[in-house]
Amino acid sequence: MNLQSPTPAKSSSLPWFIAVGSVTFALGIGGALTLSHMNQSRQNDAIALLASQLADIQVTRAQTPDLMAITAPTMPVPAVAAIPSASSVLAARVPTGTTQEVSQELKTAQAIAIANRNKMRMLTEGVVAGLYSVTSINPEGGGTRIALNSRNAASTASELEKLLATAAANGDIQVPGSISASGGTVDSQTLLFDLVQRSLEDGSDKEIAAAQEMRRRAFAASAAKTEIVAGQRYYTVEAGDSLAYISLQFYGSTNAYDAIYQANRSQVASPDKIQIGQRLVIPEA
C-alpha cells in the first residue's frame, strides 16, 4: 500500500492546514471580540475578512478546499468528500454585505491570530528539532491511547487540542468522519497529530524527514494488539477508536485511514461508522 499521500492529496493538505489553523485564529478572534464587547456586526466583519483571506489562498492555490481531501483520485468518491471545509463553514456564517474598513479592534484580533499561528509554529518546530515524544497513556476510564508530548510547547499542544475540540463541538469545523470516534465523540488528539504531520509533510526536506520520524514514533508507541488469521492482520475496534486513530497506530499517520476503510468496505458503510468490537482487516504497509 502506498503510505505517502498521492501528489494531489499532498498538495491539497496545505489549504487544509491553513483552513484549520485559520479556524483556530477565528476562535481566538471570536474570544477577543467577545471579551472586548464588540458588536455583532464587527465580529461578522472579522469572520468575513478571514473567510475572504482563506478564499484568496484557495483560489491562488487552485486546490480543493475539502477538510480531509486525501482520498486517492482513482477511488470512488467516499462520504468524506461531501464534508464541507472549515473555510466554507466559516463563510456560511458570514452575512452578505460589503467588508468595511479594518478597525482598530480588528487589528488587535489579527495580532491574536498571529500569536495562535506562532503557537502552531512552535509546536511543529519542536517536532522538527525532536523535542517531543510519542507515548502510550492510560486516560481515565479509557484504554491505552497514543499521545503527543511536546517538550518545548507542552501547554501549546494541549491548548490547541482543546481549541480543536471546542471548534468541533461548536460546529465551527466539520470533523471528517474518519476522525469521529466509535462513540461519536471527536478525537482531538488525533486531529492534533493530523495537523502537525500535514504541516510538516508540506515543508522543507528537514520537515518531511521530521514527519517521517513522527510516523515512526507513533507506530512504535502503539499498544494495539492484532491477530493474524490466514495471512491477514486483524484489529478489533475499541472504545474511542476512529479510522484515523487506527491508521495512526498501524501506519504512524492518519492519512492511511482510507486504505483501511477500502479494505473493510464490506462491513464499514462509511468512515465514521466503525463499531466497538468490529474486526477490521489491517492491510500490510
Binding site: 510516523r215 507506530f219 494495539a224 494488539k225 492484532t226
Partner: protein, 207 residues
C-alpha cells in the same frame, strides 16, 4: 480446549509424581500436546541417561575460573524452572501463543533438544546482521518504515545447554537491545543439562 486437557494432565502428572515414584513406574510424568500437527509429549523417566546429561556439561575455555551462569540473565527478566517451562509449553507453545527458544548453535542442538523448542541461534541477533528485524517479525513484532512495534511480540522462554554456558543470556541481552519488551521474556537457566538430569525426555532430530 486443548490447554485445559494439557493443564489437567500436567496437574495430575505432577500431583501423582510421588505416588508413581513409589510404584516404580518407568514414566512418572507425561504431558502430551500437538505442535504444528505433530503429536509430542514431555515425559519424566525414573532412570537417567548419564551419558546424555554429561553431553550438555560444556564449560567453555573462556568463561573464567567458574563456568557458572548468574541466576538472572537480566534484572528485568525472570529465571524459571522446569515446571514453569512445561506449563509454558502446554499453555502457550501448544496454542501458538508463545515460543520456547533454543538459543544454541545448530551443532550444539544436534546433541538433543526439548521437543516444542525452536532453534534461533544467539549469533543471529548480532547487531550487524541485517536480518534482525526479520527475526523480530518472526517473533511477532510489527514493522513499518524500519521501525518495530512489539505489542504483538510473543512471550518467549529462552534456554541453552545450561548453567555452564551463556548462549541464552547473550540472546536475551540482544533481544532487549533490539527493543523486545523484557516482560515478555523468561530465562530457563537449567537448560539441557538440568532438563536431562531430571530425566525429562529430549528429541535429537527435527520432526
Amino acid at each position: 480446549m486443548f490447554s485445559h486437557t494439557a493443564a489437567a494432565a500436567l496437574a495430575v502428572g505432577l500431583g501423582l509424581t510421588t505416588a508413581l515414584l513409589a510404584q516404580s513406574s518407568p514414566e512418572i510424568l507425561d504431558v502430551a500436546f500437538t505442535l504444528n500437527g505433530v503429536e509430542k509429549s514431555i515425559r519424566q523417566t525414573e532412570t537417567l541417561d548419564t551419558a546424555q546429561v554429561s553431553a550438555f556439561h560444556k564449560p567453555g575455555p573462556n568463561c573464567g575460573p567458574l563456568c557458572i551462569a548468574p541466576l538472572a540473565a537480566s534484572s528485568a527478566v525472570p529465571t524459571v524452572g522446569e515446571r514453569e517451562v512445561i506449563r509454558f509449553i502446554a499453555d502457550k507453545v501448544a496454542l501458538g501463543e508463545g515460543l520456547l527458544i533454543d538459543s544454541r548453535q545448530p551443532e550444539d542442538r544436534a546433541a538433543g533438544f526439548i521437543s516444542a523448542s525452536v532453534n534461533v541461534p544467539y549469533s543471529l541477533l548480532q547487531p550487524d546482521n541485517p536480518y534482525v528485524a526479520d527475526i523480530m517479525q518472526a517473533l511477532g513484532a510489527r514493522a513499518f518504515e524500519g521501525t518495530l512495534n512489539f505489542s504483538d511480540a510473543m512471550p518467549l522462554v529462552v534456554f541453552d545447554d545450561g548453567p555452564t554456558t551463556n548462549d541464552a543470556s547473550t540472546f536475551i541481552a540482544a533481544l532487549i537491545a533490539a527493543g523486545y519488551p523484557a516482560e515478555k521474556l523468561s530465562y530457563y537457566r537449567g537448560g539441557m543439562l538440568v532438563w536431562t538430569a531430571l530425566g525429562l525426555n529430549t528429541q535429537d532430530s527435527k520432526s
